[in-house]
Point group: C2
Chain length 296, copies 2
């Protein structure tokens, strides 16, 4: 099967998992379930749950316990986008060609939908304690990783610095910090949680974290490149937005060519890390490489 | 010792636990740790962690594992206030006589500080898995309760309906729903988590939930009464705000007298529930009764 078909298969599986774990739309508070579904089912690459699943399988995981965590990581990613789009933040009216959550449901419900998705991510992940196969220590460890990488030492920490430095000239070290935390942390947690739930050793989990750190960085730099070289139609979002917002990016910092080399180098290192584990996962390797060649 | 001294002792203990679990203010994202501390250490009754601790002790709990959960419940309560105060929500510039978080740190950081506190609540609670005494199944069960009661079937659900119905005439059933979820749910989770971590039976946990449901309702109705009969100086917040906002409250619905009777009835039932457990906790009983007589 081609990489594209394999990716599509996995995306469809992720969509089915998300639908399974979305709350029923019921009760006086029904509107919040609708807003959660609206934002969560807006498409997207589903990269984080796919990486989590692949890491789980890489270490021999075959059960269902990965599913609530797959849903949880995508809920956390989605809440961060919903809050990012708010008027007091990036003030974006469109995302992936659709109106953003606060535009459709109002700013107050946009804030609450983000809160609800973050909270529901933990509620969903905690349901793993009720699954028969559950090893509560592994589940607890996976939850610790989920919480840490999404928080002030992870995604939120990166977002804080991004917001704080917005409109300022920043140095490469600050840019690295933002990318490592804002984008990298959730990707790291995805593969780490997959590995932990499959029973990987601490050293294997650490190797996966390193691979994901490089992948996350490459992914974000490629985003910067696509903002300059991509087409709005293919990307489904405006291009040249970084230039318009006078944003420091890898491209403004190092130029297109060097940024492209950095993506290639990071990807080679990530693939080498994967091989060092002595496991064979052609799809995962192709996935890491696809990040370099993707056009959206 | 008098009730007031005992309450003060416990408040001081809660403050020390909060300080212990607050993140170090460090790193490029330091401002978010500052905003978290600013909002979390703004005083307040610390009712939820005190109820949690008391419930833990009621069922024989003597360990430290309750502490991360005490900190977590207060972080969740605090994040809900920070987001409530935002311009798109209640737009409040002051709380407890101090400027609100978004006024001091900006609206973007107000949103992020709320997100950070919610996420850090789970991060903190998850640290219980590393405590030597930890029983991972109990910790997992406590986390499930924490997540559920804070989310769309608990606090957020109540907040959603409160926001949605703001400015509308609402019926008693809707008011009950809002109070039960927005205020009641966190109080229920507090005593349930204390009981679970101390090893109480499911039936005991259920009884504690019922007691807390009544206490939460009484607490909220008393708030409505104090908004009419209290003094701004004692309360540390404006009075008659419900009337100004044309808000439906228990007082506008049933009048002061009947509302007062409802508080007394609910409190009697809560105390009777406590006695039905066959345990003796004079402080907890006095605490439940204090909710009726409190002036702030």
């Amino acid at each position: 099967m081609s990489f594209n078909s394999e990716y599509k298969n996995r995306t469809e599986y992720v969509e089915s998992v998300l639908k399974k774990y979305l709350p029923e739309k019921e009760g006086l508070q029904k509107v919040i379930m609708e807003a959660m579904e609206y934002s969560l089912m807006a498409g997207g690459k589903r990269l984080r749950p796919i990486l989590m699943l692949e890491s789980y399988r890489l270490f021999g995981g075959e059960g269902m316990i990965i599913e609530p965590f797959m849903a949880a990581i995508e809920m956390i990613h989605t809440y961060s986008l919903v809050h990012d789009d708010l008027p007091a933040m990036d003030n974006d009216d469109y995302r992936r060609g659709r109106k953003t959550t606060h535009v459709v449901y109002g700013e107050d419900m946009g804030i609450l939908a983000g809160d609800a998705l973050l909270n529901y991510a933990f509620e969903t992940a905690c349901s793993a304690f009720d699954m028969d196969e559950a090893d509560p220590r592994r589940t607890g460890r996976a939850l610790q990783i989920l919480a840490k990488k999404a928080g002030i030492y992870g995604m939120i920490g990166g977002q804080v610095v991004d917001v704080k430095e917005s409109g300022h000239q920043i140095g490469g070290d600050v840019l690295d910090f933002i990318y490592r935390l804002k984008t990298g942390a959730l990707i790291e947690s995805s593969v780490m949680i997959g590995a932990v739930l499959a029973g990987a050793s601490e050293s294997e989990v650490h190797t996966m974290e390193q691979i994901a750190a490089k992948t996350g960085m490459a992914f974000q730099i490629q985003d910067d490149i696509l903002d300059v070289t991509g087409s709005a139609e293919v990307l489904g979002k405006p291009v040249h937005s970084d230039e318009k917002n006078e944003k420091t990016t890898y491209v403004t910092w190092k130029g297109i060519e060097e940024s492209g080399q950095e993506v290639a180098r990071l990807t080679d290192e990530a693939v080498a890390g994967l091989k060092s584990l002595g496991k064979n996962d052609k799809f995962l390797e192709e996935l890491l490489r696809w990040l370099v060649y993707r056009e959206k």
